[in-house]
């Protein structure tokens, strides 16, 4: 199956790696802020790097906050994208999209665990997950983040870094990963493949 994937431009994100990963799976990732294109796409990805407040402002600026909430096709939110799906973030006290219930909080740095949390970490499945099909439980994925969503009703897999947080969240047509699947080797590729196979 090949096709176009709408990559929502929330600003600041370097999406080259993600586009290359999609290309390896035979898909074209189109960076866009066009509401019509996003609504019509078969799959939508919400990437994101940077601050939650800046990204939310940029989405709201084009009315994309409302557009995203009303999407019915499969949506994958990555890294900051995952955080934006929740109710709110402690990063500059930002109200987020509220698609998933829960709050995003800063990771606490310690001598053993510098923040940002950067590197490979285990992801542990906590309930049925479409994204983890064919992937061994406890597989390693690549993380780069300073904030994380608490475990909630939508959490399907967790990771530990000082505290346990949502590594993967899934709710209806919305899917989200705190890690970067496009940088997570074979496991990441399988996860993207699983996402593209939904819907």
């Amino acid at each position: 199956m090949t096709g176009q994937v709408a990559l929502i431009d929330s600003g600041g994100a370097n999406i080259a790696s993600l586009q290359f990963a999609l290309a390896r799976l035979g898909h074209d990732g189109i960076l866009t802020r066009d509401a019509g294109f996003i609504t019509g796409a078969r799959h939508v990805i919400l990437p994101g790097v940077g601050a939650a407040s800046t990204a939310m402002e940029r989405l709201a600026d084009r009315g994309l906050d409302t557009v995203i909430a009303e999407l019915t096709q499969p949506v994958l939110a990555i890294c900051l994208g995952l955080q934006l799906l929740f109710d709110s973030s402690g990063e500059n006290d930002t109200r987020c999209l509220g698609i998933m219930e829960g709050h995003v909080r800063a990771l606490e740095p310690s001598a053993e665990r510098p923040v940002p949390h950067m590197g490979w970490n285990r992801v542990n499945q906590v309930r049925e997950s479409k994204l983890l099909r064919g992937i061994q439980n406890g597989a390693y994925f690549y993380f780069v983040h300073s904030y994380a969503a608490d475990i909630g009703a939508s959490t399907t897999a967790s990771a530990d870094y000082g505290r346990t947080f949502s590594a993967i969240a899934e709710q209806g047509n919305f899917f989200a990963t705190q890690f970067h699947p496009e940088k997570s080797g074979t496991a990441g590729q399988q996860l993207l493949k699983n996402f593209l196979a939904t819907g």
């Binding site: 370097n14 080259a16 790696s17 290359f20 990963a21 290309a23 390896r24 790097v49 940077g50 740095p109 001598a111 510098p114 940002p116 950067m118 590197g119 490979w120 390693y140 690549y142 780069v144 496009e182 940088k183 997570s184 080797g185 074979t186 990441g188 590729q189």
Partner: protein
């Protein structure tokens, strides 16, 4: 170019967790590396990679990151103008700013060297390594690669004493470099110096050590790695 792509693919398949591409001749010549290859590497790789060499301005850093690199590593240009670290961290975030430090033991003191890509121009920067490690952290560096030059290329093992000393003052990830010769050297540096990562070039290029086998060895010694 084909060689770079072949190597990148080989290391990725062997299970490397991250790749660093060095152009060590970039800084002494005052030229920039040709960046087009980064794009081709990024197309191929699905693991994080870092580009080092000749990045002297935020604009050059942006070019490298836009070509698809996940991190940039700065060495000599940071010594020449330390404020570059602050500028890079503010603009791109600490997570992609790696500081490479070439440290040489002189009269029982660790000193930072610069222009290490060119034997004729290489010189002692006059800075104590520990001072520089503290400074780069306060300026916003996200990671340090400490290349222990007394061990570099001799394959007698990492410089455990120096890495242990620097580990104690490093609040950000510390990557050991210089001296890897056997699988046991990796076990030693993780166990004794408690570094966050270990970098090696020669033993992997020459296939003296296979990364997959190395990881099995580390796991057998209860060192947590991605299998």
């Amino acid at each position: 170019m084909g060689d770079i792509l072949d190597l990148a693919q080989r290391y990725r398949d062997e299970g490397a967790d991250e790749l660093v591409f060095y152009d060590i001749t970039a800084s002494p010549d005052g030229r920039s590396v040709d960046r087009a290859w980064i794009h081709r590497v990024a197309k191929l790789l699905d693991i994080p990679f870092c580009v080092a060499g000749g990045i002297r301005t935020p604009e050059e850093a942006e070019t490298v990151l836009n070509f698809g690199a996940d991190k940039i590593s700065i060495n000599t240009p940071a010594l020449t103008r330390p404020a570059l670290i602050d500028e890079l961290a503010q603009r791109f975030g600490s997570q992609c700013v790696v500081i490479g430090i070439d440290s040489l033991e002189v009269d029982r003191q660790y000193r930072v060297c610069q222009f290490t890509g060119d034997p004729d121009r290489m010189r002692n920067s006059g800075r104590a390594t520990a001072d520089w490690v503290r400074e780069v952290q306060s300026r916003g560096a996200g990671e340090i690669v400490l290349n222990c030059m007394n061990q570099d290329g001799v394959r007698n093992g990492y410089d455990i004493a120096q890495l242990t000393e620097i580990r104690a003052i490093s609040k950000i990830p510390l990557i050991a470099s210089g001296g890897a010769g056997t699988e046991q050297h990796f076990v030693d540096v993780f166990r004794q110096a408690r570094v966050d990562g270990a970098l090696a070039a020669t033993v992997f290029h020459s296939a003296a050590i296979d990364i997959g086998n190395l990881k099995q060895h580390l796991l057998a010694h209860s060192i947590e790695v991605r299998p």
